[in-house]
Structures are given as C-alpha cells and as structure tokens.
C-alpha cells in the first residue's frame, strides 16, 4: 500500500513527534508514505480569516502537486490540515465559480487542479483501507489493560463527517480496541474543542475548555489521552500544568499522538516514536503495556 503524505507545518516544529511516529508506525504496517513534493502550508483556520479564495488556492496548490505526483490518495495526519484540504475539495466540487477562480490562480503559477484528488485522514486509511483485521494481525504488543481516552477534537469529523460521525465519532475507538486497549468510548468531551489557537490569543477561554476535557478523561479513569492534531496535543499536554494552576487541579495524564501509542502496539520502540519528546512523561504508560 502506498499513499502520498502531507505532514503539515507543525510536523516541523511542535508536532514533530506526530510526523516521526506516523512514519515509524506506517513502516511497521508495511505502508509506504511518499511525502508531497514542496508542499506548502494548507492555511488551516487562520488563512480563511484573510481571504477565502486565497485559502482555497493555496490549499489547492498542494492538491495540484499531489495530482501530478501520483495516483494514490493523499494521507493527512493533522485534523486541521485534513479539514482544510477536504473542505477545499468540497467547495471546488459544489461551486464552479470557486473552481474557476482557484484554477485561474493556479494557472498563474503553471499549475492546475481538477478537484479529484482524494484527501484522506490517516485514521480513515487505517480503519477503512488497511482494515481492523489486518491491523489486529500486525499487533505484537497488545495494549491490554491500558485505559485509552481517544480525543478526536473538532476538525476530525466536523463539518463534513466524511468518514465518521460529526457528533459522536468512533473510528479511533474501534482502532484502539483492535489493538487490545481498554477504550473509554464515551467520556464527555471526546469531540469537544480544545480551544486551538485561542490558547495564545485568549488563554483563559482555552484553559477552561481544556479543563473540561481533562476532567472528563480523568473522571473516566484514563491512563492516557491520544490525539490526532498537533494543536490539540499541545493544548492538552503542554498546557496541562497551566490548567492545574488556573483551576487548582492536579491532573497528571500522559497525552500522546495516537500514532505513538499505536506504534508501540505494532512493535516500534519508544525512541523511534519520539516519546522522549513529550512534556508530560509517558514512561508510566509505556511501562504498563504488557511485553
């Protein structure tokens, strides 16, 4: 199996561990990831604040490159990148005016895009392409007894709900159940907002949201929270001490990218999965996985 791969800007900085662990995990699964050549920032949420058509156009530049680079689907790891690229596809499909404008802009840099490159979230690829059975067979260290709280966040299945329910997603639950984990399928906040960029622009708001998320996971007895977005991961992990300070709580819940935990199940080493890059130590969780 082979996919074109869009790592996203965070993968070069705060989200480095996500990129590293994704590659390590996919290697164990025998899936080839071909990084998109000269990819640019998708624009995420910020670019839409400035100019709508520009956002679609710069996102479409990546899709145009992908179309030239190969026939495979484009696999995206970050929730926000996924939603931005998929939304671009959706709007191009629904509005001939948008398509025309975007193609015109791409034409100015000798590119074009016909709207037909499939954008896939990595979980969609894992659960629907590789499949639960095949994944189960590749597990070398079952995550028995590990209580996992999958944190989906907002842009995983909203707004389009293309591969999972917008209100109550379950694909990550299914995935980790296949890896033998004790998945908490229903804690309040599994797909609620972490605040995103607001952690920098209005910290109090984002801290309150993270407080609710951490409280929900804590009450449900989570041993670890797994994420699919660098911003979510940063907010829940990096800012956990500040949540504790602001609300007088004492959360000490390890937060990982889901690929890091999954990678352990597939036999990769903690080092290979960049687990040494976490702020809140994950040693406890790693030690708890039966050999």
């Amino acid at each position: 199996m082979r996919y074109l791969y869009y790592p996203g800007c965070s993968s070069e900085a705060t989200g480095k561990a996500y990129d590293i662990s994704t590659r390590a995990m996919m290697e164990k699964l025998g899936v080839e990831l071909v990084e998109l050549d000269d990819w640019n920032c998708c624009g995420a949420t910020s670019y839409f604040n400035v100019r709508e058509l520009d956002s679609f156009a710069i996102a479409a530049r990546n899709l145009a490159i992908a179309q030239k680079q190969g026939d495979e689907d484009l696999c995206v790891i970050c929730n926000a990148c996924y939603t931005t690229l998929a939304k671009t596809n959706r709007y191009i499909e629904e509005s001939p005016e948008v398509h025309e404008a975007v193609n015109g802009a791409l034409g100015a840099v000798d590119r074009s895009y016909d709207g037909k490159k499939a954008v896939r979230h990595i979980m969609d690829v894992l659960v629907n392409d590789i499949g639960i059975e095949a994944l189960g067979e590749k597990v070398t260290r079952r995550l028995t007894g590990i209580k996992v709280a999958p944190y989906y966040g907002c842009q995983y299945s909203r707004p389009m709900g293309a591969f999972d329910d917008p209100e109550f997603p379950t694909t990550m639950d299914t995935f980790f159940t296949a890896l033998g984990a004790d998945v908490i399928t229903d804690y309040a906040g599994k797909s609620k907002c972490c605040g995103g960029m607001m952690m920098l622009t209005k910290e109090e708001g984002a801290l309150r949201l993270c407080h609710e998320l951490l409280e929900g996971a804590h009450k449900a007895g989570a041993d670890v929270i797994v994420c699919a977005c660098p911003l979510c991961e940063m907010n829940l992990e990096g800012y956990q001490p500040r949540v504790n300070k602001a609300f007088g709580t004492d959360y000490d819940i390890p937060v990982m990218y889901f690929t890091q935990l999954a990678g352990l199940a597939f036999g990769a080493s903690p080092k290979a999965l960049a687990l040494d890059k976490q702020i809140v130590s994950c040693d406890r969780v790693v030690a708890a996985i039966p050999a």
């Binding site: 329910d165 109550f168 229903d186 309040a188 609710e212 409280e215």
Partner: protein
C-alpha cells in the same frame, strides 16, 4: 396522421367558449383576437367569451347554445381540466349533450400563467384551442360504467382513529372489519396517562369506545392480524388478512390471567411499557385490552422455541384454551371501501447522540414518561428516577429531532402540548420539584391550549426559550456532581445556562411508521415527501387518497392531537359511507379495451399495467381489461407493440387530430 381517417360526423357544430378567468387569462392573452379567429375555424358554429365560465351564467351559455343552436361539440378554453372539467361536463349533460363531447383547452396553467410575452401567450392559446377544435369531430359519446359496491368497509388500524371510524360506520348499519396488528386495539392513546388540555384520563375516555367496538355486532374485530394483499378497485376490494396465531383459543379464553401468573418466562421487556417493565411470554398487553385474550409470544415461549417446559400455563388454564398447535389463519375478505388508520411511531431519540439517550441514566423518551406517570405502568404511577428516588429537578426538552433539516424538517404539532402536560403531572405528583421547559416556540393553537400554557406558568414551571444544545453528566462544580446537566442558551436572556436535572425528558416528534411506504404500496396509494400517507388534496380532500375507495385518518396522514384525529376519523367514515351506501358507483368510461381478435397474447400489457387492471385469459389466450379497475392511464396503449389496446376518449385518431391542430397555425 393517417390519411384514411375522416371526420366522423359531417355535421359538427362546435361551440367555443373562451374564459377570461378574471385577469388570470385575459390579463395575458388577447381574448378578442382569439375568439374572432376561433369563429372562423371549420366546424365552429359559435365562439363566445365570458369573464367566469364556471359561474352559473357561464354554464348557462353552454346549455343555451346546446338547446337553442343545436351545438353538438363544445370546447371551453379556460383553466385545467382538474379544476372544472366535471363542472362543464355536467352542464353539457344537463342540457342533453353527452358529457364526453365536451373538451377543455387549458389556456391558464399551460399558457397565461407560464408565458411572459403577450403575443407568444396569445399564439399559444390559439394553438391549444385549435388542438381541441380539430379533435372534437373525432370525439365519441361515452356512458359512465356502473359497478356494484360491496357495502362492507375495512378499517386498518385499531387506535383511536380506527375505533372511531369503525363505530361511526357501524352506527349506520354497515359491516366493518377492524384489523389491528397488535394483540389489542387502543393504539398509543392506551399508553398515555392523561390527555391535554382537559387532563382527562386517557384510559377513562378510550376504554368505553374500545369496549363498544369489541361488543358491536357490526364490527368484526380482527386483532393480532395484518393485511397481506389488496386487489381490486373502488367498491370491490379483495383483501387477504392474516390472523396471526396467538396459540390461545380466543373462543374459550376468558382473559382471566391465570396463565400469565403461571408462566415461567417472566423477564421479557414489555413493549407496551416501552421496555421499562417486564412481561411473561404469555401476556395481555394491558388490563383493559380488547379483546381481552391472552397471546403467547413465540419468540420467548420455551415450548414454541422447542425447549423443555412444564407448561404451567396449560395446567392453570381452566377452559383449556392454550393451543400450541394453532396456525395462522388467512382470511379472504371483500369490502367496498378501506380506511387506513395505522397511526405513527415515536421518533427514537437515540438518533441524536448529544442528548445521551441510551447512554445516560434518566434521559428518557416521552412515551417512557407516559408509562412512568401512568398508575398501571412499571412504577405504579410514581415519578421516579432509575434509582427509585423522586427527581428534584426535571428538564423537558422540546423539538428533539423536529424542525431540523438533519432529522425531521416538519413540526409534529403535539409535542409542545404533551410537554406542558408532563410539567403538570410532575408538579402534581411532586410539588417541590423544579420543572424546566426548554422550547423554541410554544405551539398552543387548539381549543383551551393557550389557557393550559398559562396554567402551567401559573404552576411555576420555568419556561426557558432555547433549544437544548446537549445533555452531559460531566460536573464542572460540586453542585453539579451526580446530576445531569442540560446546556442551553436562554435566548431571552442571551446567556448560556447549565441547568442541573435529575431527569431529562426528550420530547421527540412523531414519525411515519417504518413500513409506511410498503403499506401504501400494498394498498395502492402514495406517501408525501415527509413519509406520511398522501391525501388527495391538502386543504379540500384531507381524508381521501388518489385511489378511489381508500381513505386515511389520524396520525398516519400527519401528526395531530386526539380531537383532530377523532374528527378526521369521522370524516373518513362519512366519505366511506357516501361510497358504500349506494348500490353502485360510477366509474369513468375512459378505459382501455383490448380487441380479442387482434391481441397476440404477448403479456406485455399485463405486466406494465400499474393498476393490475389487465388479466390474461388462459382459455382464449388473450389479455382482458378489468374495466372497473382501469384508471385510463394509457400505459398499455403505449406499451403494446401491435397497437391493440384502445382507450376510449383517447383514441389514436383523436390524439393525432389534437397534434395536427396544435401545429396547424
């Protein structure tokens, strides 16, 4: 057009009437020009115009010309034939002219209402009119076909609508078959505790009617039965009804309940109690059931599942009514009219996961609350949470799954009122409990409804205008621990509130039955876009369907409250009576005829007829039209490769003449 066809009657005297229809037609079409032109056309004796042809003076014009001028063909250029063709045909008939020698030219819906340019509209009107002028010489006199009518009526569905319709019909002496798929009649109303706005006890007002229906000599009660097949046509329906085996002899069973006491399988979730209570494998759904007979549920009875059982029910039964060998019985019934009263299903709130139904304890549906508040329900009428304690705060959430393009777009009419009713019941049982109504609009449109709303406000119910965003059990403060939190914007205050509740009632809307589409197809009528049975006209014919002889009443047509249901049931009964109280019914003669000399027996028309009105005569090896069942749709005429079926009133030469006339200008 084949050259050999000539005008049928050399002396055609066509009268043309051009209606202004106020300014609907005259505002766009140059009437004078058209009428002047029409007067010049071959075979036209007289061409007139009038402001409103459908009025009495307008009709008199037609009658006078027939009687005084000897006019023998008429075309009325006006609105659509669906509006006034019967009007004008009757006028012609009153004046002694066969009604099928009158045609309408639709110059309104097909012309003046849909054309922008005056000149274009005028030309089009002339073409449409010319088509009929060319056709009329080929029209033939036709006489309506009379078919005998079976005076019996079948009512499908034994809820309040079905029961009411059956009783009304029986009172006129007609025989009624009342078919109900559950073991007892009573429908949803039997589950309720009280009804709004009078707070009448539902059972108290329903059971006398149920009892009356059960004892009525004209009503043949077919409970635990379902319709499998319907054939036939107005006045002559043949219905196959399957009487499902109860495994209890209904002639000898007295409904004493001894078998129920004795049964060893005791933990089957009770459907009537919405799964909150338990029943035995042999059961009577509720104490006031009609017919009061036991039923054995084959899916849970040990004996019927092939397992070992001491059969204490058999031992306990005095009259020896248990019969494990009982088979389903299929009845072939003949009736003249059918009334569909199959009711609704509640919209299941687990379809919207953000309210926690099915995941959080004490988030319940409206029917579940009806059973909890009902004295004969699983909690003996005590309003309690799952842990047996009374709730200190209850939130009632309106519009669950309704008015929502993600679920059901329509409003179910009754939910605001039943929600208010719940508030009252809670306040009555638990005066110190806080009750919150979370609504978008408070729809209290009926008689006594607004007053009921005022009463509830007076009783101290908190009215919060805001559609609940979600229900959670995650407490963010000590006061919230152990409670359900309803998050909503109080739109009148403009703030987001977290309302703590011990019980949350989800007031979801009414849905059409899951098999509504199939059922409508079995009977031969259709459903509307929202899935309910389709009425013939939303304002003027709410209880008829497009199929003559089949009527609808109650929530199967659209959600409604009990007063409207009862009224509609009476209306359907009256319509059915109007049909079956006559020995015959007239059927339109524009039916298909297959010449046995020409038919080669290929079966194509038999298979394409949407009304199953063509049968194959095995002896003669030809297809034959069941005249009374034929609706004159013309599909067989088009499908036949040898051009054999001829539809009266739509013969080839008539249609070709119309085409010629339209193109002749």
């Amino acid at each position: 057009m084949s050259g050999e066809e000539e005008a049928k009657m050399p002396e055609d005297k066509i009268a043309v009437y051009f209606c202004h229809c106020g300014s609907n037609i005259a505002g766009k079409v140059d009437v004078d020009k058209v009428v002047a032109w029409a007067a010049e056309q071959p075979n036209v004796t007289v061409a007139r115009e009038y402001k409103y042809m459908c009025s009495d003076p307008g009709q008199d014009l037609i009658k006078d010309d027939i009687q005084k001028l000897g006019v023998n063909r008429v075309v009325v250029a006006a609105c659509s034939p669906t509006m006034h063709e019967p009007t004008f045909r009757k006028a012609a008939s009153d004046a002694g002219l066969n009604p099928y020698l009158l045609q309408m030219a639709n110059v309104r819906e097909h012309c003046s209402w849909v054309t922008e340019d005056r000149d274009e509209a005028t030309e089009k009107a002339m073409r449409i009119l010319n088509a009929q002028i060319h056709r009329l010489p080929f029209n033939e006199a036709l006489d309506p076909i009379e078919v005998p009518v079976n005076p019996a009526v079948m009512v499908v569905g034994g809820g309040i609508a079905g029961i009411e319709a059956a009783l009304k019909l029986s009172a006129t002496g007609k025989k009624v078959y009342l078919v109900e798929k559950k073991p007892s009649i009573g429908g949803h109303m039997a589950m309720f505790d009280k009804t709004f706005p009078t707070l009448d006890c539902a059972a108290c007002i329903l059971t006398p009617k149920m009892s009356a229906a059960g004892k009525d000599p004209n009503i043949e009660m077919l409970a635990y039965s379902e319709v499998e097949e319907v054939e036939g046509y107005v006045g002559n329906f043949k219905v196959k009804v399957r009487k499902k085996a109860r495994f209890v002899n209904t002639d000898t069973c007295t409904g004493c309940g001894a078998c129920i006491e004795a049964c060893v399988v005791r933990k089957v979730p009770s459907e009537f109690d919405q799964g909150l209570g338990k029943r035995s494998a042999v059961y009577i759904p509720f104490p006031q059931a009609v017919p009061l007979r036991a039923t054995i549920d084959a899916a849970n009875c040990l004996t019927l599942k092939g397992k070992k059982c001491k059969q204490p029910c058999v031992t306990a039964c005095g009259p020896g009514a248990i019969d494990f060998e009982q088979q389903d019985e299929v009845l072939d019934l003949e009736v003249g009219a059918i009334i569909m009263a199959t009711g609704f299903e509640l919209w299941e709130p687990d379809q919207d996961p953000r309210y926690g139904y099915g995941k959080l304890d004490n988030v319940i549906s409206s029917l579940e609350f009806e059973r909890i508040s009902n004295a004969s329900g699983p909690t003996g009428g005590h309003i309690v949470c799952k842990n047996g304690e009374a709730p200190k705060s209850v939130a009632i959430l309106h519009c669950i799954g309704s008015r929502d393009q993600n679920h059901q777009e329509f409003c179910s009419r009754v939910c605001c009122m039943y929600s208010l009713k719940f508030s009252h019941l809670i306040k009555e049982h638990l005066p110190d409990t806080e009750v919150y109504e979370l609504y978008i609009d408070m729809r209290c449109y009926g008689k006594g409804y607004e007053e009921f709303y005022r009463r509830l406000m007076d009783e101290g119910v908190h009215m919060v205008r805001g559609r609940a965003a979600e229900v959670t059990d995650l407490a963010m403060s000590p006061e919230e621990e152990g409670r359900l939190i309803v998050k909503t914007e109080d739109t009148l205050l403009g703030i987001v509130r977290r309302i703590p509740a011990d019980m949350v009632i989800l007031s979801s809307g009414l849905s059409p039955a899951k098999d509504a589409k199939e059922v409508s197809q079995t009977f031969g009528f259709g459903c509307s876009g929202n899935g309910f049975f389709l009425e013939r006209h939303p304002k003027l014919e709410p209880v008829s369907t497009v199929t003559d002889g089949i009527f609808i009443a109650g929530c199967c047509q659209y959600p409604k409250d009990i007063p409207d249901t009862v009224a509609q049931a009476g209306a359907a009964a009256a319509c059915a009576l109007a049909l079956v109280d006559n020995p015959t019914v007239k059927v339109e003669p524009t039916v298909s005829y297959i010449d046995p000399e020409k038919c080669c027996g290929c079966h194509i028309c038999v298979s394409v007829c949407p009304h199953t009105a063509i049968q194959f005569n095995e002896e003669k090896k030809v297809a034959e039209v069941i005249t009374a069942a034929c609706k004159g749709c013309g599909v067989c005429v088009a499908a036949c490769g040898s051009n054999v079926p001829q539809q009266a009133g739509y013969l080839d030469n008539q249609i070709f003449a119309e085409i010629e006339g339209a193109m002749a200008l």
